[in-house]
Amino acid sequence: MITLLGLFVVVIGFTLRANPLLVVVAGGLTTGVAAGFSFNEVVAMIGQFFTDNRALVLPIILMVPIVGVLERHGLQERVALLIRRATAATAGRVLWIYQLLRGVTSMFGLSIGNHAAMVRPLIVPMAEGAALVRPGTPSPQSREEIRAHAAAAENVGNFFSDDIVVAVGALLLIKAFFDSAGIVVALSDLKLWSLPTALWVVLVGWWRYRRLDARLKKAAAAAKERAP
């Protein structure tokens, strides 16, 4: 049971809303020391795992200079203008289409983007631009809600249609796990049984983004009444 001490540190840390980086490092140190490693051994483990996984920062660090420079020259304003010309666009429809697009590409094991490469520079300005055509400017609160849903569209589109046509990630991992456990599983069966959830997620998205549009419309109408 003492092995679980680090897990408790993590849960308590997040409950107290301590800084997540501090929580995670404290959890790692506790787990390692509780399992009987010396402090320096645990620090070396942290260093090794950090080094092995530091490539996770690459897409963000190399992308932000591009986005930053273009934003100074009006990238977000330009995208918003383009979307305002498309009169059928609403924030919800923009996000649903992005989720679909993201899902279809991820079926082929491709990634067209992530939060830094697509959501901040293109999708958020599109959705906010679309919300702007409807009555009134989106309030800071509506803006926050649109942005949170834009991040959600990226994640949901990315996760639930992984590998269905061309397997490059999750399904290969499942197959490798069953292989090493000595259980025969066909990759084509794994693909087949991933499909129903992928279709369901499209429907769930349609419902969520419709709700978002309805809430934005209500907020805009309320704002109009307050300021005639």
């Binding site: 070396a44 080094t51 490539a55 499942i174």
Partner: protein
């Protein structure tokens, strides 16, 4: 031998981080000038040179970063939001040419990912096939940056300044994903997974087929929430609950179980702050006030998808 390696691109990332640190150190108006400068320079060393340093040195560098953050010595100045009238004027000058650099990145990444690993000069290959996706993305970013600078007529210094503006907004959340991977690795070495799987198996009446399915899918969520990664939860829960109770005791189909089990884990990913690169980093990148706003928007998705997965698994696995 390979010409382009990921370490080379990470060295470049270290260069960008060092430039950010230098710009912060020279900025006398920065509210947390020295703490922030040391943070970015230490991070530049850990990211850029990590592979060539002994792990314990990198480990202490990470502890140093963490203590700077924990004592609130790292921060970002108030960046003036660009005047939207001025920006709209500027946007008119360049028009749609502003979009191309952003679109070049995925184009190069996808095409490069498909062809780069077959480029060979005799014994020397251009890239390591295992790294081809990340290297193609890195090349895409370089093409994108070159086009962005050409289109806007800015210099590399502007790229460092504007990139630094966004990186300072991200601050500590930038390294959280790598640190979560470290936490997961340490927990794996300490044997946390098997302890939890044993607890689930003794606490629940898994002899009932439905209970076994709910325990497995629920365990995937719980474990993904705690560890922040469905890939880490999958082997633990499948060995501890899925294989013994669904496949062996009740004769379930492992393909149905495996596919839907992993998809249930993703529902956990949608609602946990531990999946920082999906939930916390974007909240900061999009400048949301509530750092849990993305999780709140995703919670209804997660619930609807999880229930569907459990129903489908129970209906089809046996």
């Amino acid at each position: 031998m390979t010409l382009l390696t990921l370490d080379l691109f990470l060295l470049g990332c270290g260069g960008v981080l060092a430039a950010v640190g230098a710009l912060v150190a020279r900025d006398a108006t920065h509210p947390q000038r020295w703490g922030s400068a040391i943070f970015w320079l230490l991070l530049a060393v850990a990211v850029g040179l990590g592979k060539w340093l002994p792990p314990i040195v990198v480990g202490y560098a990470v502890l140093g970063l963490t203590s700077l953050v924990a004592t609130k010595r790292v921060g970002a100045p108030q960046f003036a939001r660009g005047d939207s009238v001025v920006l709209t004027k500027r946007a008119e000058v360049l028009g749609n040419r502003l979009l191309w650099p952003v679109l070049w990145v995925p184009v190069v990444a996808i095409v490069g990912g498909a062809v780069l690993d077959s480029v060979k000069f005799g014994d020397v290959s251009l890239v390591n096939p295992k790294q081809v996706a990340q290297i193609a993305l890195g090349l895409g970013c370089i093409v994108g940056l070159a086009t962005a600078l050409r289109t806007t007529g800015e210099g590399p210094l502007a790229a460092a300044r504007e990139g630094g503006r966004l990186l300072q907004l991200l601050s500590w959340s930038l390294i959280l994903p790598a640190m979560l991977a470290a936490l997961g690795g340490i927990m794996g070495k300490a044997g946390v997974g098997s302890v939890i799987a044993g607890l689930v198996a003794t606490a629940l009446p898994v002899q009932f087929p439905l209970v076994a399915v709910v325990a497995y899918c629920g365990g995937m969520v719980l474990f993904t929430v705690l560890l922040g990664n469905a890939f880490a939860a999958f082997p633990v829960m499948t060995l501890g609950v899925g294989l013994p109770f669904i496949v062996q005791a009740h004769g379930g189909d492992p393909a149905v179980m495996g596919a839907l089990g992993m998809l249930s884990g993703y529902c956990g990913t949608l609602v946990t702050p531990m999946a920082a690169n999906f939930n916390i980093v974007p909240a900061r990148l999009l400048e949301l006030k509530d750092q849990y706003a993305v999780i709140k928007a995703q919670a209804p998705f997660a619930a609807a998808i999880w229930v569907f997965n459990v129903g489908l698994m129970y209906g089809c696995v046996y």
